[in-house]
């Protein structure tokens, strides 16, 4: 059994090494003599794709490092070996041998929080990447278009007034989803009838955000003071208070929305060349727009219901990913997901590692994301506006 295990690893290592040497071969020795013009093009293209894979692998390593750091950073000191043995024991179902307090900290608090950070980062970044490509709009994400605010209002109504569209534990998320569909429907109507500029989409999103925020404030004013305290810490965007069952529900939404958007990656590439071109490729643009915005609403509802509004991750992550590997959505979407997860984990690490008091992670992302958003607006090329 043990032998089989190591041989698998050895195989993986050697295949990775072969791939790396492939990449080196393509980049160092550009000896394409004897190949036809077409074959040279194909060889170059394949080398180019490998180079993108290297970036993804690099980001994965950063991802693993961040997860490990977050598992050991915190007030209660636990070394990394203990942390991993606790996690391993839980996964394979062994009896927990470590100190029960350490077990409690790692398994009940830190790991669900880290998974929440990952879910939030992945979901928001994929939603942002898809919206930006679909609307040809570098400023679009669930936050700037009002979809997150809509979801937040829906969830607030459930929390403060107890009014839900369906009963049961999914009541709040379904509320959030339905309210997230309002800005989505608005975007669909605008795109179909008005040929909106990127600025128009964002400004109408902000207008909707005002309305949602006002309604949310009203709900909080008239609600029971105890409920308000809970809602308030949630509105600023926080990873606290998560447990395994909440993480599970959140991941159902994140995985569902992400898979649909990933599936539409090639369609998103075509939509970047304009609606009429996408139609001429055989794409039913109106239907795709609905599918994408419903998926974005699923993501926003699943995330916002648990963590509140964590802004700007969906905006910034795809831009970082685009700088690293270009605009092809088939690579952009998975890479954005990794970048988004890393961004939220970095913000969380900052709170855990450097601050003596607990600050909601949403404050950090807005504090950093706001100025970046402003720089992007100022540096926008004239053609886009």
């Amino acid at each position: 059994m043990k032998k089989l295990h190591t041989s698998g690893i050895r195989k993986a290592v050697s295949s990775t090494r072969n791939k790396m040497s492939d990449i080196r071969h393509h980049y160092r020795e550009k000896d394409y003599s004897g190949l036809s013009e077409e074959e040279v093009t194909i060889a170059q293209y394949k080398a180019h794709r490998w180079s993108k894979l290297v970036v993804i692998i690099g980001m994965l390593i950063l991802f693993v490092v961040l997860v490990s750091l977050l598992l050991i950073v915190g007030e209660y000191e636990i070394d990394i070996g203990t942390v991993y043995s606790i996690i391993w024991d839980h996964i394979v179902g062994n009896e927990i041998t470590a100190d029960p307090m350490a077990d409690q900290v790692v398994w009940k608090w830190r790991l669900p929080t880290i998974l929440t950070a990952i879910g939030v980062g992945v979901g928001l970044a994929i939603a942002g990447a898809a919206m930006q490509s679909m609307m040809k709009n570098p400023l679009a994400d669930p936050y700037t278009t009002g979809i997150s605010s809509g979801a937040a209002l829906g969830a607030t109504i459930a929390m403060t007034a107890g009014i839900t569209i369906i009963n049961g534990s999914y009541g709040m998320i379904v509320n959030a989803f339905v309210f997230a569909l309002i800005p989505s429907a608005f975007i669909i109507a605008l795109s179909k009838f008005r040929k909106p500029s990127p600025a128009m989409i964002i400004l109408s999103g902000i207008a909707l955000m005002y309305v949602f925020n006002a309604a949310q404030s009203y709900m909080m004013l008239v609600a029971d003071p105890n409920a308000v305290a809970a809602v308030y810490s949630w509105t600023v965007g926080s990873l606290e208070g998560m447990n395994w069952s909440k993480v599970g529900i959140m991941f159902i939404f994140v995985v569902l929305g992400s898979c649909i958007l990933m599936w539409e990656a090639r369609v998103l590439n075509a939509m970047n060349s304009g609606d009429s071109y996408a139609k001429s490729l055989g794409i039913n643009v109106d239907r795709v727009r609905v599918i994408i915005l419903v998926s974005v609403s699923i993501l926003a509802a699943g995330i916002v219901s648990f963590t509140g509004i964590i802004g700007f991750v969906g905006l910034v992550a795809p831009h970082i990913a685009r700088i690293l590997t270009g605009a092809d959505n088939r690579i952009l979407i998975p890479l954005s997901a990794l970048v988004g997860a890393c961004l939220v984990m970095v913000a969380h690490l900052f709170v855990e590692g450097f601050l003596s008091f607990a600050l909601p992670v949403g404050l950090i992302t807005s504090l950093i994301g706001g100025p970046i958003f402003m720089i992007m607006i100022i540096r926008q090329k004239n053609e886009v506006w």
């Binding site: 093009t41 040809k136 970047n272 055989g282």
Partner: protein, 261 residues
């Protein structure tokens, strides 16, 4: 076998405004066909009717006997490719990825070896293999146009439609692009339909010229039959004379014929 495109009693109105009506056209011979006519006469509208981007208010378009309105976008995409006028990619990909996009109607999520081969052949045909790994937005207007035509060809259409492929190009690139289109039409036996504003460029390379004017087809035929001084003066309201260069009509324009005189 060449595809057969036939428009019968076609008419389009935007609200109260009638673009044109009673259009009867048939494209069945391979070759380069140019559509000419003043601005706003509805040349692009005709293309939109052929690939269902626009639904005509009267009449119909049939591709190989099947009414376009009964076909799905995908069915049409397997036969008709469209090269839009402007190339405003907000987030540009590499040239190769851009051309591979043309394979969308034929392939699944991942590109196959065959797709790669077809795309690289299209790059070669357009003489832009050396640009394959460049980013689309780093290119010049002439190069953009060639990439977009390569993307259209990668779709392996029976009918390739281009909306003003030579606007924004200098004379060298205008002639080069039209030459390539004429050659592609001949070699692949496909119909290439282009909207053009330069009468002389159209005359030099087209096998057939269709002139739209005042909501109808004004004339339709070979460049020699259609590009005459009378027709040009009538359609464009400018004084013109036609001479022959390389056995093709060549239009000379004079200052005159304007309303403010």
């Amino acid at each position: 076998m060449t595809t057969n495109i036939e428009a019968t009693d076609l008419g389009v109105s935007y609200g109260e405004v009638k673009v044109w009506s009673g259009i009867n056209l048939k494209f069945s011979e391979p070759g380069l066909i140019s559509i000419l006519g003043p601005n706003g006469v509805g040349k692009s509208t005709l293309m939109y009717c052929i690939n269902k981007i626009l639904v005509p208010t009267e009449g119909n378009v049939k591709i190989d006997g099947e009414d376009v309105s009964d076909l799905s976008f995908k069915d049409i995409a397997l036969k008709v490719a469209y090269v839009p006028q402007a190339s405003n990619e907000t987030f540009a990909m590499t040239v190769m990825d851009t051309v591979l996009m043309g394979r969308y109607p034929h392939s699944g999520f991942n590109v196959s070896k065959e797709d790669l081969m077809i795309a690289s052949k299209c790059l070669k045909v357009m003489q832009i293999s050396h640009l394959a790994m460049r980013n689309f937005n780093e290119l010049s207007a002439g190069q953009h146009q060639k990439v977009m035509i390569a993307r259209g060809l990668a779709q392996e259409p029976d009918l390739l439609m281009l909306d003003e492929p030579t606007s924004n190009l200098d004379i060298y690139h205008q002639m080069q692009v039209m030459r390539m289109l004429a050659r592609v039409a001949k070699e692949r036996g496909i119909i290439v339909l282009t909207i053009c504003h330069d009468l002389n460029i159209a005359s030099k390379y087209s096998d057939r010229v269709v002139i739209f004017s005042k909501g109808k087809i004004f004339c339709d035929g070979t460049p020699k039959e259609v590009i005459t001084a009378e027709n040009i003066s009538e359609v464009y309201k400018v004084k013109a004379d036609v001479t022959m260069v390389e056995d093709r009509p060549y239009v000379l324009f004079y200052d005159g014929g304007f309303e403010d005189e």
